[in-house]
């Protein structure tokens, strides 16, 4: 299907569609859109080979604003539609955009299965810890005690952690970034694109209307140094302002992480854990870190590639064709017993 015409040097703004953007002024989705434009320009896949698929929600209006192919489907089902697209044409670069409600409330099951199957998709989950489009009810990622129209006395159920869920579902790529981190986010998105198989990216996104400041505890300029750790493969887990660096190490004797201050009690870099993107257990532990006790782990928490589902499916079809070449439908209809009259 795919016609390989390299479009020459697309710039970020070439990826803007002609549709007016209809998010609330100040919504974090704008920043993510910008980062995606940049990423698309960087990865230089022809526009006509890119497909954005989404469900329903504020986040899910995303495809309308990218000048590639796009499918704004129904609530929670984007991973399934995207799977069908990849099965039909594995050569397309398919991006799923979803929200914490779309992807983890109604769509949690498809998320599980698309990750487990390892379909080669980039899955961007905009986590604003609320249902934006339906006016601010609490979501499965909302923290306990969230006051919302459906929980006027505060929510009582425990939230799900998107990355922990993805890892438990068998995801082979899990990463995190923040809407406003315009240098960090495109790098993460590029990594997601490069990873064959399902890439899961949680993006913390500020909903200015219904949940403003939800992530201030680790995204406010004043606190980022103390509350974010930027993961890099094979590098020690270190964060904090220059001169006040801290690190993450395994608590001696137990399977538990702890924050240590470099230089204190003779602790040096060598005592810290070294990030290993291919270690799922480590990723699970990093995903569980959260302020105030721990920094929020951003970047690629886990990446351990394996062939994508759509590739394996194609391979099997090719193998079948090689085994039984020349598929003749007339012959098929005549397999087994037949008899002739007249």
């Amino acid at each position: 299907m795919t016609v390989e015409t390299m479009e020459p040097n697309l710039t970020p703004k070439d990826f803007a569609s002609d549709q007016e953007v209809r998010w609330c002024p100040g919504c974090g989705d704008y920043a993510i859109l910008k980062a995606v434009y940049k990423t698309l320009a960087d990865i230089a896949v022809p526009k006509s080979d890119v497909v954005f698929v989404s469900g329903i929600g504020c986040a899910s209006r995303f495809p309308y604003h990218v000048s590639s192919y796009g499918f704004h489907t129904i609530h929670g089902r984007a991973p399934s539609v995207a799977t069908g697209i990849k099965l039909a044409n594995p050569d397309l670069s398919v991006w799923v955009v979803t929200g914490d409600g779309d992807g983890l409330s109604i769509g949690g099951n498809h998320m599980l299965h698309v990750l487990r199957r390892n379909v080669d998709l980039q899955i961007l989950l905009f986590n604003n810890e609320t249902y934006g489009l339906t006016k601010g009810q609490y979501s499965p990622t909302s923290r306990v005690g969230t006051v919302s129209p459906s929980t006027p006395m505060g929510s009582v159920d425990y939230p799900v952690s998107p990355v922990a869920f993805a890892l438990g579902s068998g995801a082979r790529f899990a990463a995190r970034s923040v809407d406003t981190m315009q240098r960090h986010l495109p790098v993460v998105l590029k990594r997601a694109h490069e990873h064959r198989g399902a890439s899961f990216v949680e993006i913390f996104q500020n909903c200015i209307v219904y949940n403003d400041g939800a992530f201030d505890d680790f995204t406010e300029k004043a606190v980022v140094d103390d509350t974010q750790i930027h993961l890099e493969h094979a590098k020690p887990l270190i964060f904090g302002k220059e001169g006040e660096e801290r690190g993450i190490r395994l608590k001696p004797g137990v399977i538990e992480l702890e924050v240590v201050r470099l230089g204190e009690g003779g602790i040096g870099i060598k005592d810290l854990l070294v990030h290993d993107e291919t270690n799922r257990s480590l990723a699970v532990m990093l995903a569980a870190m959260a302020p105030p006790d721990f920094p929020m782990a951003l970047g690629v928490l886990y990446c351990d590639p394996a062939p994508g589902y759509e590739t394996l499916v194609r391979d099997q079809i090719e193998e079948a064709k090689a085994r039984t070449p020349n598929g003749d439908l007339n012959a098929l209809l005549r397999e087994g017993y037949t008899w002739t009259v007249g």
């Binding site: 954005f52 397309l92 498809h110 079809i317 005549r334």
Partner: protein, 622 residues
């Protein structure tokens, strides 16, 4: 005609009969379905027309000897045109007590019953809920009984096979089949060949089964059977010339999809979630990867239909298939396909409802759901298959409509059709008319909701095509640009366009034919789907008696053929037999404003010819 090699000339004189209904029954573990399958094959080879009805229990493998563990297989075959698997069997083969207890009720008075007395021990009788031994207590006094210890005779026949007793006993279905082959003058060779192939890696099993088959046959040739029991011959039926095979509905659907996709020039992506009785289509297609078919077992029915929609968006033919509860789950996504105006074929092998209902039993009670069952004004096309082989044609027609009109099409089959088999004049695929899809490639003037003036189908532009990048979705679209629109007048226009597109299909389908009888008159019987057989036979029988009654059978449930209302209004009375409580009935009354009456049968079984005959007679005034 192939086959018919070894006709035994020493047998007693055979009675010629025009058609026969046989029912094989036994425990789930007795290999009844396989036995019926073999009998079907050789009967087809003998040139008879036939129809089969596998009737297996809901349990995977119910405890041996229980009545709910009885598996049965019915075949109607004959020299004449066969339309149903038959009302009451002429002959019952019962391999155990439970089978006898359950199945004897339906046997024709005076019918033959072959009973394995080896399965009638005290313990077996108790398990079957019988108080006495039916052979002794008069239960069978109205029938012609052949009571033989098939178990013992089988063990004897295979005693040199080296099999242990349990495995040896397993051959008793073949022994029985041998006897039945003798009774109905069937050729053993194809079955012998089949056994040798099937058990190629276990030659001792093949040999034992062949030995049992031959022993049963020899028993018939030599034993003195009960009084009044003669063997039969059934002459070949009059078939049009050509190459034939037997075909099951599930197979025919699978093949129809493959051929339909080929005719449209598309790749086939079949996406489904297992459910009884629809899984057969998935299984059949999964075996055909060498034809390039992609099959996808999704995590649920919602994912299945959504992946099919995604595949269609990406330029393949997306197809999904399910049964009642799964169809219910597809409802929301069907709306998406309607709004996105993408081709999609959805096969519903209906089963008895409501809800889980009776998963292994047949019914045709999802017509309402197919035609009306969505939120919003959501028109789509609905077709129904009338028989196993008809599935092939109907599915191809569904592909044609789906791709030409950019619309989902629901195909209604049912448990009976999916599992039953009948002879089929195999078409030459190369002679079928192709209906190649033309993807939009021209960027000039393109927008995704640009409609073909005649069909109103929208342009299909496939990701990967340079210059046609576009976004679609299920929010209302502007008629003239395809962009999101909340404009009041535009919504009316788009709603009307979606409706007109589907109604317009009526101009592209054949006018409704009258299956039998006059084009107007006192009474017309109108049916759809798998009740074709019983209705056709019932109307045929009464017409032979000289009654003026017509039969109309619908393939196109929505839109209805253009001439249907006119036809219906030409009859004084209209009778609509349905395996539901009156669903087509509602549609016909609303559309044609005719005082049609329903004849409802919801028993999980196909209609009996006699109940339709009776209903017709009643309306004809006796």
């Amino acid at each position: 005609m192939a086959g018919n090699a070894a006709i035994d000339l020493t047998s007693p004189p055979r009675q010629e009969v025009e058609s026969v209904v046989i029912r094989f029954a036994g425990d789930s573990g007795d290999g009844i379905q396989m036995t019926g399958g073999r009998f079907t094959d050789v009967t087809a080879l003998a040139g008879n027309d036939l129809a089969t009805f596998p009737d297996f229990p809901a349990e995977i493998r119910a405890p041996a000897g229980t009545t709910y563990g009885v598996s049965a297989f019915q075949i109607n075959f004959g020299a004449r045109n066969i339309k149903t698997s038959g009302d009451a069997p002429d002959a019952l083969i019962a391999l155990n007590a439970a089978a006898l207890a359950v199945e004897i009720r339906d046997l024709k008075p005076g019918g033959v019953v072959i009973v394995n007395t080896g399965g009638l021990a005290e313990r077996n009788l108790r398990k079957a809920g019988l108080e006495g031994n039916p052979i002794e207590d008069g239960t069978l006094s109205n029938f012609r009984v052949i009571a033989i210890d098939i178990s013992k005779l089988t063990l004897e026949a295979v005693k040199n096979s080296g099999l242990n007793k349990k495995d040896a006993l397993r051959c008793k279905n073949l022994w029985t089949l041998g006897l039945v082959y003798w009774m109905y003058d069937r050729d053993r060779q194809p079955t012998i060949d089949w056994l040798n192939k099937r058990f190629a890696s276990h030659p001792e099993l093949a040999a034992a089964n062949v030995a049992a088959l031959n022993a049963g046959h020899a028993f018939g040739e030599t034993a003195e059977l009960a009084d009044g029991i003669t063997p039969y011959t059934v002459a070949p039926s009059h078939f049009a010339p050509g190459e034939y095979r037997t075909v099951h509905g599930a197979e025919a659907m699978a093949w129809g999809l493959m051929v339909g996709a080929r005719l449209a020039g598309l790749d086939l992506v079949f996406s489904s979630y297992p459910i009884t009785p629809a899984s057969g289509v998935l299984h059949a297609l999964a075996k055909l990867k060498h034809f390039g078919v992609t099959t996808f077992q999704a995590e649920d029915e919602i994912a299945a239909i959504c992946a099919a929609i995604g595949a269609s968006f990406a330029g393949s033919l997306g197809v999904t298939s399910s049964s009642g509860p799964g169809m219910a789950l597809k409802t929301e996504a069907l709306g998406l396909a309607i709004s996105a105006e993408l081709p999609l074929v959805v096969i519903n092998s209906q089963r008895a409802g409501p809800s889980t209902g009776m998963p292994t039993k047949t019914e045709q009670s999802d017509l309402y759901q197919a035609v009306f069952g969505r939120n919003g004004d959501s028109p789509l096309a609905v077709l129904a298959a009338r028989s196993p082989s008809d599935c092939f044609d109907v599915v191809i027609e569904a592909v044609r409509i789906a791709t030409k009109y950019m619309t989902p099409v629901i195909v209604l089959a049912d448990t009976y059709i999916a599992n039953a088999a009948e002879p089929w004049l195999i078409p030459n695929v190369d002679e079928l008319t192709p209906f190649p899809v033309e993807f939009r490639t021209e960027p000039e003037g393109f927008h995704p909701y640009l409609r073909d003036e005649r069909t109103l189908g929208r342009a299909w532009a496939v990701p990967g095509t340079p210059g046609l990048e576009h976004r679609i979705g299920a929010l209302e679209k502007d008629y003239d640009t395809g962009n999101i629109s909340y404009d009041p007048a535009n919504h009316q226009r788009m709603t009307d366009a979606r409706g007109a597109k589907i109604s317009g299909i009526a101009d592209d389908i054949p006018l409704q034919a009258v299956e039998a009888g006059e084009e107007s008159g006192r009474l017309c019987v109108v049916g759809w789907g798998s009740s074709y057989g019983p209705i056709a036979r019932a109307v045929g029988n009464l017409r032979e008696e000289g009654h003026l009654v017509s039969h109309i059978h619908l393939r196109h449930i929505w839109p209805l053929p253009r001439n249907l209302v006119r036809l219906l209004r030409g009859f004084d009375k209209i009778l609509v037999p349905e395996m539901n409580t009156g669903q087509l009935l509602t549609l016909l009354r609303a559309e044609a404003l005719v005082p049609a009456e329903g004849l409802s049968s919801v028993t999980g079984k196909p209609f009996r010819i006699s109940e339709i005959e009776e209903a017709i007679r009643l309306r004809l005034g006796g």
